[in-house]
């Protein structure tokens, strides 16, 4: 017998939703990209390199957002023992890590022309790096067990411990950075937000958000399929 029977309604619903969602995501991203790359004005100081922002800021936002989703799913998984919640958490983790990495990579690329160095130990940058490590730890733990359910639960506990710690880490990193105020570092002062920038930026954030939802749903579908296959193959 199947020990894992996903809510049929969830599967049917996502199967119907996904094509539309995918199309919408593509459309919004296309509009956002064209708008931000071709039609938004270059910065008078930063020239075209300002356009990195249209990828950098949405991915930073989603890197943080994905952790909240993962934490919520982990809490549900631990308290109500819903297999679907475990699958959600597992589906979210690599995406969150990817967005966080994208934020770091684009920020780094941006930093070279702006600050003359790939990396500074600025508080915000550093806490983003620690967030990436938390994602990596989560994924490593979830996959470190022969027994999959054991990995699910251990990772869920870790994720919740991480939720408590993220604000503490953020706060302590701020403190650390302001204490040793470095002389050589130019702070990433946000450029005055002009409507001509805000428009494409918000579009890109929406596009990334939709992309995230689409990808999570796809990954959840394949996670469900994998769970069913495992259940079948163990029946023999």
């Amino acid at each position: 017998m199947l020990t894992f029977s996903p809510p049929a309604r969830f599967l049917a619903f996502t199967r119907r939703l996904l094509p539309w969602l995918g199309a919408l995501t593509g459309l919004v991203l296309l509009v956002g990209l064209v708008w931000s790359l071709a039609y938004s004005p270059p910065d008078y100081q930063q020239k075209d390199s300002v356009r990195i922002m249209y990828v950098h800021v949405p991915s930073a936002y989603l890197g943080l957002f994905a952790y909240m989703v993962m934490a919520a799913a982990s809490a549900v998984a631990l308290i109500w023992k819903k297999p679907l919640a475990d699958i959600t958490a597992r589906a979210t983790a690599p995406l969150g890590a990817a967005f966080t990495f994208l934020c770091l990579a684009t920020g780094s690329l941006w930093g070279k022309p702006m600050w003359g160095t790939w990396w500074v130990w600025d508080a915000r940058l550093t806490s983003m790096l620690v967030l990436l490590f938390l994602y990596l730890g989560y994924m490593a733990l979830a996959n470190a067990f022969d027994d999959r359910t054991r990995g699910d639960r251990a990772a869920a506990v870790l994720c919740l411990v991480g939720v408590v710690n993220i604000p503490i880490i953020k706060f302590s990193v701020d403190w650390w950075n302001t204490l040793h105020q470095p002389a050589s570092v130019i702070k990433p002062g946000g450029p005055a937000v002009d409507p001509s920038i805000l428009g494409p930026l918000l579009t890109m954030i929406l596009g990334f958000q939709l992309l995230f939802i689409t990808l999570v749903l796809i990954r959840m579908q394949s996670g469900i399929a994998a769970a069913q296959i495992r259940a079948l193959s163990q029946r023999t």
Binding site: M1, T3, F4, D147, R148, A227, Q234
Partner: protein, 213 residues
């Protein structure tokens, strides 16, 4: 129903044990004997179904349930650097029984001579006897024994059978899994392979418990 590693092991199982009863769990490797015992010891949680004691669910007060059951598993929990008596005394104290019965417990399993020997020098059979001595050192009404005769020689098995009989005479209960022969007069037998969830006929339609042959 009990699910281990995303796989259902047994389902539709229902039984009760009365004072003085013994229940013998049998079935081939992997049929779920150890799983059932760990479930009853609250080391595992049932995927569905519940355990009751005097008609109250044991999950409600797991500490009280732990106090009234003793579990002997595959592993002997003997620390290599502690003397045998220290090992047994620690578990007795932890169970809240103090150390008053410890010497009697060692005597019961013929371990008095080894009391000061450190755990690392004990043979497998001696370790197993030390593990069983916890039953006597910290008395409790329900004993959950997972293949307790492993590594024991004949004389030690006789000591265990004697203890089991005495425990039941005093109104205690025993649930015991084994592959070997053990003398348990009047024990009922539960063949766990009949409750594998893949079976076509609902397992509960069959006679659940049968007297030991």
């Amino acid at each position: 129903m009990c699910v281990r590693g995303e796989r259902a092991v047994f389902a539709n199982l229902s039984f009760r044990v009365e004072a003085g009863d013994a229940l013998l769990l049998v079935g081939p490797n992997g049929s779920g004997k150890s799983s059932l015992l760990r479930l009853m010891a609250l080391l595992l949680h049932p995927a569905s179904g519940r355990l009751t004691w005097d008609d109250r669910s044991v999950a409600d007060d797991s500490e009280a349930h732990a106090a009234r059951t003793r579990y002997v598993g595959h592993l002997d929990a003997i620390k290599p650097v502690l003397a045998l008596r220290e090992n047994v005394a620690f578990w007795a104290r932890l169970a809240g029984a103090g150390t008053t019965h410890v010497d009697a417990a060692l005597e019961a399993f013929n371990l008095t001579r080894l009391a000061q020997v450190p755990g690392r020098l004990l043979s497998a059979g001696q370790k197993r006897r030390a593990n069983l001595a916890r039953l006597v050192a910290a008395p409790a009404p329900l004993w959950l024994l997972d293949e307790p005769t492993t590594a024991l020689d004949r004389a030690s098995i006789a000591l265990l059978e004697d203890r089991l009989a005495r425990h039941r005479a005093e109104g205690g209960m025993v649930v015991l899994s084994t592959h070997q022969d053990i003398v348990l007069p009047g024990a009922r037998v539960l063949a766990l392979d009949r409750f594998a969830p893949g079976l076509a006929r609902p397992a509960s339609a069959r006679p659940l418990l049968e007297p030991a042959s």
